[in-house]
Symmetry: C2
Amino acid sequence: MIMEVIDSVREMQKRCDELHCAGRRIGLVPTMGYLHEGHLSLVRLIRGKVGEDGVVIVSIFVNPTQFGPGEDFEVYPRDFERDRRLCLREGVDLIFHPSAAEMYVPGATVYVSEDRLSRGLCGRSRPGHFRGVLTVVAKLFNIIRPDVAVFGRKDAQQLRLIERMVTDLNYPIEIVAAPIVRESDGLAMSSRNTYLSEHQRRQALCLNRALQAAEEAFAGGERDPVRLKATMASITADVPEVEVEYIEIVDWETLERLSSPIERKALAAMAARVGGTRLIDNTLLDPTAK
Amino acid sequence: MIMEVIDSVREMQKRCDELHCAGRRIGLVPTMGYLHEGHLSLVRLIRGKVGEDGVVIVSIFVNPTQFGPGEDFEVYPRDFERDRRLCLREGVDLIFHPSAAEMYVPGATVYVSEDRLSRGLCGRSRPGHFRGVLTVVAKLFNIIRPDVAVFGRKDAQQLRLIERMVTDLNYPIEIVAAPIVRESDGLAMSSRNTYLSEHQRRQALCLNRALQAAEEAFAGGERDPVRLKATMASITADVPEVEVEYIEIVDWETLERLSSPIERKALAAMAARVGGTRLIDNTLLDPTAK
C-alpha cells in the first residue's frame, strides 16, 4: 500500500468508510506535526494494535482553537515535508493533513467541553485549551471513525479527558495510552523542545529529576502528597531559570488534588516555563503496582 | 425484515455497523416516545430518504439531562407498548430503547454545547436544555451513525442547533427538517398536549391563531418585526389563561432577534404556558419565497 495524503474532510470521510467496510481496522495517531521519536513510538504502538492488515492514520493539524491568546500558535514548529518522510519510513498508510479553513467553517459555535477533570493542572492557566482539544478530537473521530486511537501519557490530563469523552459520548473507539518517550538525558520529548537554547535545555532537566525524586521517595514508602511535592519543589528551586507553574499530586481517576495519603493510582504532574517555553512532565505513582 | 428492539448501546453499535457495511442506508428518527402523528410523519419522511432497502430506526428515550429542575421529566408521558405497535404498523425496522442507566454512566462530565443560537427563545427560560439535547443527540449519532436523521420544525431552535452541530463537529449525516404537523383544529402536535384539559386545549389554539395572523400580515407585505409581534400579542392577550413566555421574530440563520425589517428568512416563534403546560409553536416568514 502506498502512503496516501488527504487534505479534504469529505474525501477523508469517504476513504475511511471504504477502508472500514472493507474490514480493515483503523488506527489513529492525532498529532500537531513536527514529529519526534515520541510520535513515532505511537505509530509503532498503533500498528501493533491494528495489525499488518490494518490502516495506520496520522493526522497532522496545528489546531488553532486549543491555543490561547499570547500562546505560541503562530510560531509552533511546522515541517510537513519532514513529517511526510518520517511517516513513510514508519510505514504509515495515510496522512490526514487538513488546513484550518477545511477543519473550521466560519461561525462555528458548537463545541465539546468538560468541567471537572479539565479544571486543575494545565486547565487552570490555559482556559479554553481542553475545550479546543476535545472539540478537534471529536471532529477527527467523526471524520475518521477509527477503531483505536493512541494518546501519549505526557499529556496526561488530555489523555484522561479523551478517555472520559469516549465513554460519555459513546464513541466506539479504543483509547490506548502510550508511555512517555524521553531524550537520552531524560527530557520528555516535545515539539516545543526545539524552542530551548542549549543552556535552557540543561535547566529543563530538573523537571524529570524532580519527578524521579518523587518516584524514589514513593518507592521508599512515602505516601504523603505534601512531602512528595516538597521533595519535587526543592529540586526545581535550585534552578532559578525554571519558573514553576504547578507541582501537583492528583488522583488519576478524578485529577483532583490529593491532601491525604496516596491509596490508589495517582499522578505527579508539573508545568514550568524555561525562558519563554512552557514544558510539562509527569509520572504515575501506583501504590497497587507490584 | 422483522422489527427489532434493542436496548443495549454496545449491541446497537454492532448492529448498526453491520447494517451500514452491508450497504443499507440508515435513517434515524430520534424521539422521546409517546408517539403521535407528528412523529409518524417523520418516519414516513425518512423512509422516503433511505428507500425500501434502507433501515428506519426510531430511538425512544426520555432524556433526563434536557429537563431542568421543576420541569416535567418524571411525569412526561411514556407508553412503550403503544409506541412499539405504532412503529410496527409504520414499517419501522428497528427501535432503540435504552434505559437512562444504559445511556449515562455515573460521573459523566463531557458534554456538547453551543453558546450563540442556544441563548435566546427557549434557551432563555430553559438553561442547560439545549446542552442536554445536543449531548444526547451526539451520543445517538455516535451509537447509530445514521446516514440521515430527521427533526421536526416545531422544535425550530433545536433543529437549527443540530444542523449547526453536524456542521461544526463534522458528522457525516444529512439532517432533514420536517414540517409541523397539526391537529385538525390547528394545535401543533406534541406529546405534552396530553396534559391539557378540554378547556385549556381550546385556549391553546390562540398560539396557532397568532402565528396565522403574523403570516397573513407578512403575506400582505408587513415586514416590520415590531408590528408583526404586536399583531401576535394582541391575539394571545385576549386569552387570559394563556401566559406568554415569549413572542419573537428572529433571523433563521442566527436566531438573533430582528429589530429591522425582515429581508431574509425569519422565524416567528412563541412559547406560552396554558395551565401548567408549556407549549411552543412557530412559523417561517420567508420574503424570498414565491
